[in-house]
C-alpha cells in the first residue's frame, strides 16, 4: 500500500471524463493525452470508453460539470479575529458527496464574478448542513463577507483536498497519528471520522496555530481519540511527535500548512522511518477542474501535476 502512483481523484466518477479529455489533456488515459495507443495502468472502467459512450449520448444529456447553488449562510461562531465557523444548507445529494475526507467546495458571493471563488475544505456535514471555517485572509475570502453579505454560491463537490487519501479510506484496525494545527483542524475532522469508523486507533496532536484556538477537541474526544493538545506545534508538537513515533504508527495524517508537512517529513527522515503520510492539499486553486493551472506543483521527478485533481504522495512534491 506504500506506493501511490499519480491518479486522478475524479476517475470513473460522474465527473469523468472531464473537459480535459475533450482536448486530449486527460491526466490519466494515454490516448486521451494524444498518444497513439493504450499505456495506462487503470483497473477500473476504461476512460476512453466512457468518453466514447458519452459522445454518443451527448445530444440529450449534457449536464453541467458540477452543481452550483445559491444558499444562505450563517456565522455560527467567530473562532478568532477574522476566522469564522459558517454553516449553510445544501441539497441532500451534495451533502452526501461532501461527507468524505478531502472533500471541498468553491464559494463566492452571488453577485461576484466566477473568478472570485475560492476553495474551502468541508469540516463537517450534519443532516443537510455543511460546516466550513473561513479565514478572511485575501480579496476572495474577504469579499464573501463584504457589505454584510449573507448568501453564497457553492460549487461542488470536489475531492482532492488531501494527498494520500486512498490510505485514509483503506486502512482498517491500524495505528494512526493525526497531527493538526490551526486551520488544519477543519479537514482533520472528516479524516478522523473515517479512520475511527474503520476501527483505527488514533492519537491526535493538536495545536492552536494562528487561530489561537483548538476547536475540534470535543468532536475528536467523542470519537474516543487520544488527544495530546500542545501550545506550539513547532516547540512542543514536534518533540512529542518523536516520542509517539516509537509506537510505529501505520499512517500519519498531517493537517495544516505545508511547513508542518515538511517538518514531519524531516523528523521521519531523521529517524530513518518510512511511514506513509497523508497531508492536506494547500495549493491555491481557481477552477478546480484542471484547466486554469493555479494549482500546478512539480513532483521531484519533474512532472507538473494539477493538484486539484491529481492524487499523489505528498513526499513526491518535496524537491530532493
Amino acid at each position: 500500500m506504500k506506493n501511490l502512483s499519480l491518479y486522478c481523484i475524479d476517475i470513473n466518477s460522474r465527473y469523468c471524463p472531464c473537459l480535459l479529455a475533450e482536448t486530449n489533456h486527460c491526466v490519466f488515459c494515454s490516448q486521451l493525452k494524444g498518444e497513439e495507443s493504450c499505456n495506462c495502468n487503470w483497473q477500473g472502467v476504461c476512460v476512453l470508453y466512457e468518453q466514447h459512450w458519452q459522445k454518443k449520448n451527448s445530444a440529450h444529456t449534457k449536464e453541467p460539470l458540477r452543481s452550483e447553488i445559491t444558499t444562505k449562510f450563517s456565522i455560527t461562531e467567530e473562532l478568532a479575529k477574522d476566522i469564522y465557523l459558517l454553516k449553510f444548507s445544501v441539497p441532500q445529494e451534495l451533502a452526501k458527496e461532501l461527507n468524505k475526507p478531502g472533500a471541498f467546495v468553491f464559494l463566492r458571493a452571488p453577485g461576484d464574478e466566477h473568478f472570485c471563488r475560492f476553495p474551502v475544505g468541508v469540516m463537517k456535514v450534519s443532516e443537510n448542513e455543511a460546516y466550513v471555517v473561513i479565514e478572511k485572509i485575501g480579496p476572495k475570502s474577504t469579499r464573501l463577507f463584504f457589505n454584510n453579505n449573507t448568501e453564497l454560491v457553492v460549487r461542488g463537490p470536489y475531492h482532492n483536498g488531501m494527498f494520500g487519501q486512498p490510505w485514509i479510506d483503506k486502512i482498517t484496525g491500524g495505528k494512526i497519528l493525526l497531527i493538526a494545527g490551526g486551520m488544519g483542524q477543519p479537514p482533520a475532522l472528516p479524516a478522523a471520522i473515517k479512520l475511527s469508523q474503520n476501527h483505527n486507533k488514533i492519537v491526535a496532536v493538536l495545536a492552536p496555530g494562528k487561530v489561537g484556538h483548538i476547536f475540534i477537541a470535543k468532536e475528536l474526544a467523542n470519537l474516543g481519540i487520544d488527544l495530546r493538545p500542545v501550545v506550539s506545534m513547532r516547540k512542543n508538537g514536534l518533540p512529542l511527535l518523536k516520542e509517539l513515533l516509537i509506537e510505529k504508527p501505520d499512517l500519519i495524517v498531517s493537517a495544516g500548512p505545508d511547513e508542518q508537512h515538511y517538518a514531519i517529513v524531516n523528523v521521519l527522515q531523521d529517524q530513518g522511518l518510512d511511514i506513509p503520510m497523508a497531508a492536506t492539499n494547500n495549493a491555491p486553486m481557481c477552477c478546480g477542474e484542471g484547466i486554469c493551472g493555479s494549482c500546478i506543483k512539480e513532483t521531484n521527478d519533474n512532472k507538473k501535476i494539477r493538484t486539484c485533481k491529481v492524487q499523489t504522495d505528498f513526499t513526491y512534491l518535496i524537491p530532493y
Binding site: 493504450c38 495502468n41 476504461c46 476512453l48
Partner: protein, 426 residues
C-alpha cells in the same frame, strides 16, 4: 544462482520460461490473468503448412516439450482445409492445465493474477518489476512476452470496440508492456490502409449451439466448409485481419469451421443475425469473443525493437518473444521465439555469446527475415507466419519447408544445434 523473470504467460512466455529452466536457471513466470497461454487459450491450429517444419526444428533442438504436449492433446491430426495441409488442432479447453504441469515439473514458479505495472531500472539494466499489489520481483535477466493484444482503448480506437475476449482486460487490468515501461519506443503494426493494429482473425462458436448434423460432422472430420449466401458475403474485411494466411477468396465465400473444442470460425467476426441464416447455425452463439458478432481483439499495438538474439534494443538484460518481438502470428511462432529468448536470457547472465539461429533452418531465417521486413514501412502492414502468405512462399522457395523428421533433424544437426535447448549451461 541465475534468476530469470518472465512477464506474460502466453505461449511465448511459457516457452521462454521452459528454455531458461532447461538451461538450469531459477525461473519466475508472471501472468496478469488467472490462466496461462494468453491468446493460445482460443487458437488451436498447429503443424499446418510450414509450422510443421518449425515444430520439428524445435523438437530437434531439444525444446519440443510444448509441441509434444500439443500433439498429445490434439483433437484432430493431419486435417486439410482451404490453403492448409497436415494441420493438427489441440483442444483449447484442456490445454492450459497440461502446460502448467509441464512448467511446474521443471521447477518454474508460476504466479498468476500477477500483473507487472512498473519497473526498476538502472541505466540499461532492469533490476526488478513491480506488481500491482506493490510486490517487487528482482532478477538477473527479464523477458517481455506480454503480447500485443488489447487493451480496451486500443480495441476501441483501432477496432470495433472491446468484444470481451479471453484476455479479459476489465477483470484483470490492462496489458502493460515491459519494454514500454523501460522507456524503449515500440513499433506499431499496421493495416493495409496504414491505420494501426490488426484484428484477430477467428472467433469461436459454442459447439453445443450448432445443429446436430453439423456438430457431428465437425467432431468427426475436424473441419466443415459452409457456403455463405451471396447477400451476406463481405469481401472488404480481409485486409483488417491479423492472419494473412487466411486472407484467401475461399474464406470470403465460405465459412470455415474447425473443431478445436469450440467451433472455430475462420473470420474475425460475423454479425449474429446473418450467421443464423446459414443452415446448421440457426441457434449459434459465440463462445469467444463473447461479442463475436461485432468485433474481435486488436493486436500488434506495441512491438519491441529487437536483434536476432531477441534482445530488446537499448537494454542489456531485457529479452522479448512472441507477438511482442515480431509481427508474427501463431502459437508455433510464439513458442520458437520464446525458446530462443529464454535461452539467451540465461546466456546473458553467464556472460556467454548469444545464440542466433542460422538461415539454414526455418526458425532462423524467419526471425531474420521478419526483422528485415519490419525495417521497411510496407513490411509493417504484413503479418508473418510459417503457415501461409509471404513467409510460407519463401520457405518453399528456399527449400526450408519439409515434413520429414529425418530431414529436419539432419539440418539442425548440420547447424550444430541438436539438443541445444536441452543443455544445462549453469
Amino acid at each position: 544462482m541465475v534468476k530469470i523473470v518472465v512477464v506474460g504467460g502466453g505461449w511465448a512466455g511459457c516457452a521462454a520460461a521452459l528454455a531458461a529452466a532447461k538451461c538450469g536457471a531459477d525461473v519466475v513466470l508472471l501472468e496478469r490473468t488467472d490462466l496461462l497461454l494468453g491468446t493460445g487459450l482460443v487458437g488451436g491450429i498447429f503443424r499446418n503448412n510450414g509450422r510443421y517444419t518449425a515444430a520439428e526444428e524445435a523438437i530437434a533442438m531439444g525444446g519440443g516439450d510444448m509441441f509434444v504436449a500439443m500433439d498429445a492433446n490434439a483433437r484432430h491430426k493431419d486435417i486439410k482445409f482451404p490453403g492448409h495441409n497436415h494441420a493438427s488442432l489441440y483442444d483449447v479447453t484442456t490445454m492450459e492445465p497440461l502446460i502448467r504441469k509441464v512448467l511446474q515439473n521443471y521447477g518454474i514458479v508460476i504466479k498468476t493474477k500477477a500483473r507487472v505495472v512498473d519497473i526498476i531500472k538502472y541505466g540499461k539494466k532492469v533490476q526488478g518489476v513491480i506488481l500491482d499489489n506493490g510486490e517487487i520481483t528482482t532478477g538477473d535477466a527479464f523477458v517481455d512476452t506480454t503480447g500485443s493484444a488489447g487493451p480496451m482503448g486500443n480495441c476501441l480506437r483501432y477496432g470495433n470496440g472491446c468484444a470481451m475476449c479471453i484476455l479479459r482486460c476489465p477483470s484483470f487490468g490492462p496489458r502493460i508492456s515491459l519494454t514500454a515501461l523501460a522507456e524503449i519506443k515500440e513499433i506499431m503494426g499496421q493495416k493495409m490502409d496504414g491505420t494501426y493494429g490488426a484484428m484477430s482473425g477467428s472467433c469461436k462458436i459454442n459447439k453445443d449451439s450448432l445443429g446436430e448434423e453439423l456438430r457431428v460432422k465437425l467432431e468427426k472430420e475436424g473441419v466443415a466448409v459452409l457456403p455463405i449466401p451471396e447477400n451476406i458475403q463481405r469481401k472488404s474485411s480481409l485486409g483488417k485481419k491479423a492472419c494473412s494466411q487466411y486472407a484467401l477468396p475461399e474464406y470470403a465465400a465460405n465459412l470455415i469451421l474447425l473443431d478445436t473444442g469450440h467451433a472455430k470460425l475462420m473470420t474475425s467476426y460475423f454479425p449474429l443475425d446473418d450467421l443464423r441464416t446459414i443452415p446448421g447455425l440457426e441457434s449459434a452463439r459465440y463462445e469467444d469473443p463473447y461479442a463475436g458478432g461485432i468485433g474481435n481483439s486488436m493486436r500488434y499495438l506495441g512491438i519491441a525493437p529487437s536483434n536476432n538474439s531477441l534482445q530488446v534494443l537499448g537494454m542489456d538484460n531485457l529479452f522479448c518473444a512472441g507477438e511482442k518481438s515480431l509481427i508474427l502470428v501463431g502459437h508455433t511462432e510464439a513458442v520458437v521465439t520464446g525458446l530462443l529468448c529464454g535461452h539467451n536470457a540465461v546466456r546473458y547472465c553467464l556472460d556467454m555469446q548469444y545464440l542466433e539461429l542460422p538461415r539454414t533452418i526455418a526458425c532462423g531465417d524467419f526471425i531474420m527475415f521478419v526483422h528485415e521486413c519490419m525495417n521497411q514501412d510496407e513490411g509493417l502492414k504484413l503479418r508473418y507466419t510459417f503457415a501461409g502468405a509471404a513467409y510460407f512462399e519463401r520457405m518453399k522457395n528456399l527449400s526450408l519447408y519439409s515434413t520429414s523428421r529425418a530431414e529436419i533433424s539432419a539440418r539442425v544437426a548440420e547447424a550444430g544445434l541438436t539438443d541445444i535447448y536441452n543443455t544445462c549451461l549453469i
